[in-house]
């Protein structure tokens, strides 16, 4: 069983499903088959990844399930493998995708087959990003994800979809080309692009600063950090619900993962130098975008800005370079993956019924759609980090580590939590409570079975990991511990 290429199967399965969909006819009668095929593929992938988690050995920080094949003779190897840091992201990806596929029921009306193909191919690329152990392979997956996402926003998006799709594509492409320069330079500096070997060899200190900045330019756009976050609200607002979910839950996590895996792992000395920069940008992201979120009238835009703020916490936590900080960041990313996905779905639910995302359209719907209101409240509270939800665990750990490292930064970031609570609660109040502003709202029906199912699927882990984050922490603990050990050795050694 150990020889079974489980990671490659995880990467390939969704693509094979997509290929299968490609060969089924595109007529209307097929839409159910198409949906079940894609659902089936993504579910198989999910169970495979859970099985991977079970097989995963938590007691070591070595990379596991490594596959290493020559790809371009004497230059690049196709190398994949996982450690404690990457496995959670893979499971998040395989968990969110089937939910996305179920959710298309209500939102995607035309070209369903093409949409599902795009989603499945996207899943392939995302899993590839999280388990590739070669910089070129990583770049390949990282960039390739742009194509399906561009199409998802552009074809199935809202009225300003073209503008948003272009902005999304060009921003991220601009960020990543510098990373490509850095990757090739690393090849010429160190003679390899294999991440494991690079960990052992280390990269010459005199190059680290520039390389770090090149990687940073790519990850900062993708995270997104202030001031290059502007593509995110546009992309989120215009993308169809399932697209927003993918974007928020998985795409944004690639950058956080990249920071941990590459910025900290490969360029420790430079990371140490640039930590103040990251702190500065993170704090601005937390405070500034929270205030912007407060002013939004569009629900999706509000949640998009809150994502920027949450990712600010993540980058802050990563660059505290402490056990709690990085653990908190990863948990925050997982939690944000679940919660923001759920919030976008919640917006999607009311949008499908009323065709408006404006907050002022709603009000007083609590008595009309009670089930929805309960679940929406749960996720609102999770987003603002109420104890007992997964949002709390992440933020708490990050702030704890931040206090140890830099008191001022931690205080300002904590203030961000308050503003976060303000805009989320105010959003909830305006949408759900209050007077019934619009008589059309009376026609709204409560969650149907599939919506209830999706939201419950997201609610359960949100609550579970809020009360008992142990399984997550156990998985990542050793890997992060060793990462920090190596990091400190490199920094003090020089």
């Amino acid at each position: 069983m150990i020889n079974f290429p489980i990671l490659s199967s995880l990467i390939l399965l969704p693509s094979i499903g997509a290929l299968f969909l490609f060969f089924t006819g595109s007529n209307k009668e097929n839409s159910i088959t198409v949906k079940y095929v894609s659902l089936f593929t993504s579910l198989v992938n999910f169970f495979l990844s859970v099985y991977l988690w079970i097989l995963f050995d938590q007691s070591t920080s070595e990379f596991q399930f490594i596959e290493d094949k020559i790809w371009i003779e004497g230059f690049i190897n196709y190398k994949v493998g996982i450690d404690g840091i990457s496995i959670l992201f893979i499971i998040l990806t395989t968990f969110i995708t089937p939910l996305c596929i179920i959710s298309v029921n209500n939102s995607i009306k035309n070209r369903l087959r093409e949409f599902l193909i795009a989603v499945l191919i996207m899943e392939s690329f995302m899993i590839g990003v999280f388990c590739s152990l070669d910089l070129v392979v990583f770049y390949l997956f990282f960039e390739a994800g742009l194509i399906p996402m561009f199409l998802i926003i552009g074809i199935w998006g809202g009225s300003k979809r073209v503008y948003s799709a272009f902005k999304f594509f060009l921003f991220t492409l601009l960020g990543s080309v510098l990373m490509l320069v850095a990757i090739i330079s690393i090849y010429w500096i160190s003679g390899t692009t294999d991440v494991v070997q690079l960990y052992e060899l280390g990269i010459d200190v005199k190059y680290q600063n520039l390389l770090w900045l090149a990687f940073f330019s790519s990850f900062a756009v993708k995270t997104p950090m202030w001031p290059v976050h502007t593509w995110l609200p546009d992309a989120h607002v215009e993308a169809p619900t399932a697209g927003s979910v993918l974007l928020a839950a998985i795409l944004l996590k690639m950058a956080g993962y990249g920071f941990i895996r590459f910025s900290l792992g490969l360029f420790p000395v430079a990371s140490e130098i640039f930590t103040p920069l990251i702190y500065f940008l993170s704090v601005i992201a937390i405070i500034f975008t929270s205030f912007i979120a407060l002013m939004q009238e569009d629900m999706k835009k509000l949640i998009a800005y809150s994502s920027v703020a949450h990712m600010g916490f993540v980058t802050l936590g990563i660059f505290t370079i402490q056990q709690q900080g990085i653990e908190g960041s990863i948990i925050q990313m997982i939690s944000h993956g679940l919660v923001s996905a759920a919030l976008f779905l919640c917006v999607g639910v009311v949008y499908d019924r009323m065709h408006s995302r404006l907050i002022e359209t709603y009000g007083g719907i609590v008595s009309i759609i009670p089930k929805y209101s309960v679940l929406f409240m749960l996720f609102t509270l999770a987003a603002l980090g109420l104890p007992g939800t997964s949002g709390f665990v992440g933020e708490f750990l990050i702030l704890m580590a931040a206090f140890k490292d830099n008191f001022l930064v931690a205080v300002i970031a904590s203030l961000g939590v308050i503003i976060g609570a303000a805009y989320m609660l105010w959003l909830y109040k305006r949408v759900v409570f209050g007077k019934l502003v619009n008589s059309d709202l009376k026609q709204m029906v409560d969650l149907n079975k599939s919506e209830l199912f999706i939201l419950s699927c997201l609610a359960i882990p949100t609550l579970f990991f809020g009360f008992y984050p142990e399984p997550l922490i156990n998985t990542i603990e050793v890997s992060i511990g060793d990462l920090i050990k190596v990091y400190n050795m490199n920094v003090t050694g020089n």
Binding site: V136, E143, F169, L170, L173, V181
Partner: protein
């Protein structure tokens, strides 16, 4: 005379051209026959060329004025196959415009002959001879649709400007001959040391002439007009085939006689490369005609190929050759599609005519999507790898500025490729296109799309072939 069999492909091709001319004149309505025979001739020539590659490492012929090596054989085979495909997919187009005549295949064959001479040349005079043969054939091809004003204009423009550039080129040749006393590349190389600076004049003039032929900025002015005015099938030929020969001459001219003068010409090449990449990307944004857009995009692509040449290393040369090979593949796909853009027997050339294509022709637009993303250089498609090798060799020489400008211009270029994709996928649909295309057209579109798509699975194969080309040392 011992190795005459090595130039057998050229001899065979020229004899066939003469035979076809006679056949065409004496037999009435023989255009189809001539076309078919030319196709077979191209294939046979390719096979002969391939055969001689296997046994032969590097041979000089005719007092060293002709060279047969891997570079020559590889480029010749690519030229021949590209010409074959151009010929085979253009017949429907030509019929529609009632210009399906015997001259068309014969002119293509003669320009191919000229290119083969260019590719094998190891001497300034032989090189010039080949260049003129191919250019003369191309002038006529550009005006091939002679009843149309634009086509005649294109041909005339091309003729005047190309003649000018040939003049400059000859002037450069004469300067070099004057300073070194020889036209042979190897002999020139031996005479370098004494008069380095004066030779630079000659090099500059010849580089200007060559840049004209591959339409590198700032000698690109003719390209958009000629590309737009010529019949589409000829534009296809222009964008692909002459570039191969000109690039080969570029490689040979810079790396055989003048490798030691790299300090003198490297800056020129870097400038040409950066200017072409940036200009190609920016100027293409405003275009509405696809052929014009392709002209600008091809200017940009030439810039990338030149970036590889600017490195002064074998890796760089190889990456340029890989680039141009993959570029030809992508262009072939793009033009196969362009030749399908007709409604009711009328061909369309505007980008807006593609509007909403994805609703009417999902498969067609999918392959166009693949080709366009590949041209933009997005992984995992073949176009990405082409750029990747270029930047790999550029960064090996620590030319960071060139690499960063090159990559930034890919972002700018991505914009106009995305614009086409936007029009295909996001906009409202128009009338359907006719779908009565020839089998060859479908074949070339499908094959090029598939090759672009699955290139990432077998990236080593092409490199393996090309890594046998070692010009330096």
């Amino acid at each position: 005379m011992l190795n005459l069999e090595l130039v057998f492909p050229e001899i065979f091709l020229s004899l066939s051209i003469m035979f076809l001319l006679i056949l065409g004149v004496f037999k009435k309505d023989s255009s189809k026959l001539v076309q078919n025979i030319s196709l077979i001739v191209l294939l046979i020539t390719a096979v002969i060329t391939f055969n001689e590659t296997i046994s032969n490492e590097k041979t000089l012929l005719f007092n060293g004025s002709i060279i047969i090596d891997y570079l020559a054989s590889f480029m010749k085979i690519v030229t021949l196959l590209a010409a074959f495909l151009v010929l085979v997919i253009s017949s429907n187009y030509l019929r529609t415009f009632k210009i399906f005549k015997i001259e068309y295949p014969i002119l293509i064959l003669s320009s191919v002959l000229g290119m083969m001479v260019m590719i094998s040349s190891n001497d300034l005079i032989v090189f010039y001879m080949g260049l003129e043969l191919q250019s003369l054939a191309l002038y006529v091809l550009a005006t091939f649709n002679r009843d149309q004003l634009k086509s005649s204009e294109a041909g005339l423009k091309y003729f005047v400007l190309s003649a000018l550039s040939s003049g400059l080129l000859l002037y450069g040749c004469s300067l070099i001959y004057g300073f070194t006393g020889s036209t042979n590349f190897n002999l020139i190389a031996n005479q370098l040391n004494s008069n380095e600076y004066s030779l630079t004049f000659g090099i500059v003039f010849i580089l200007v002439g060559l840049s004209f032929k591959i339409s590198a900025v700032p000698f690109h002015m003719w390209a958009p007009d000629v590309y737009e005015g010529s019949p589409t099938s000829v534009t296809l030929f222009f964008t692909m085939v002459p570039k191969i020969a000109a690039l080969t001459v570029f490689i040979r001219f810079l790396y055989v006689p003048f490798l030691n003068l790299i300090d003198q010409w490297q800056m020129i090449l870097i400038f040409l490369s950066i200017a072409s990449m940036l200009f190609g990307a920016i100027a293409a944004i405003g275009q509405t005609n696809i052929k014009r857009l392709i002209a600008y995009s091809s200017i940009g692509h030439v810039g990338y190929a030149l970036a590889g040449l600017a490195t002064g290393s074998n890796d760089g040369i190889q990456s340029s050759i890989i680039y141009i090979t993959i570029y030809i593949l992508m262009n072939l796909g793009l033009f196969s599609f362009l030749l399908m853009m007709k409604r009711n027997n009328k061909y369309y050339e505007n980008i807006d005519d593609l509007s909403g294509l994805s609703k009417n022709h999902p498969l067609l637009s999918l392959s166009l999507l693949v080709i366009l993303f590949s041209l933009a250089g997005i992984p995992p498609l073949a176009g990405f790898f082409a750029k990747f090798y270029i930047f790999k060799s550029v960064l090996e020489q620590s030319m960071y500025f060139l690499a960063i400008v090159g990559l930034l211009s890919t972002v700018i270029a991505a914009f106009y490729y995305l614009r086409i994709i936007k029009i295909i996928y996001f906009d409202k649909e128009k009338e359907k296109f006719d779908m009565d295309h020839s089998l060859w057209l479908k074949f070339s579109l499908t094959v090029s799309t598939l090759l672009i798509l699955i290139y990432f699975i077998f990236p080593s194969q092409l490199i393996e072939v090309i890594s046998r080309i070692n010009i330096i040392g």
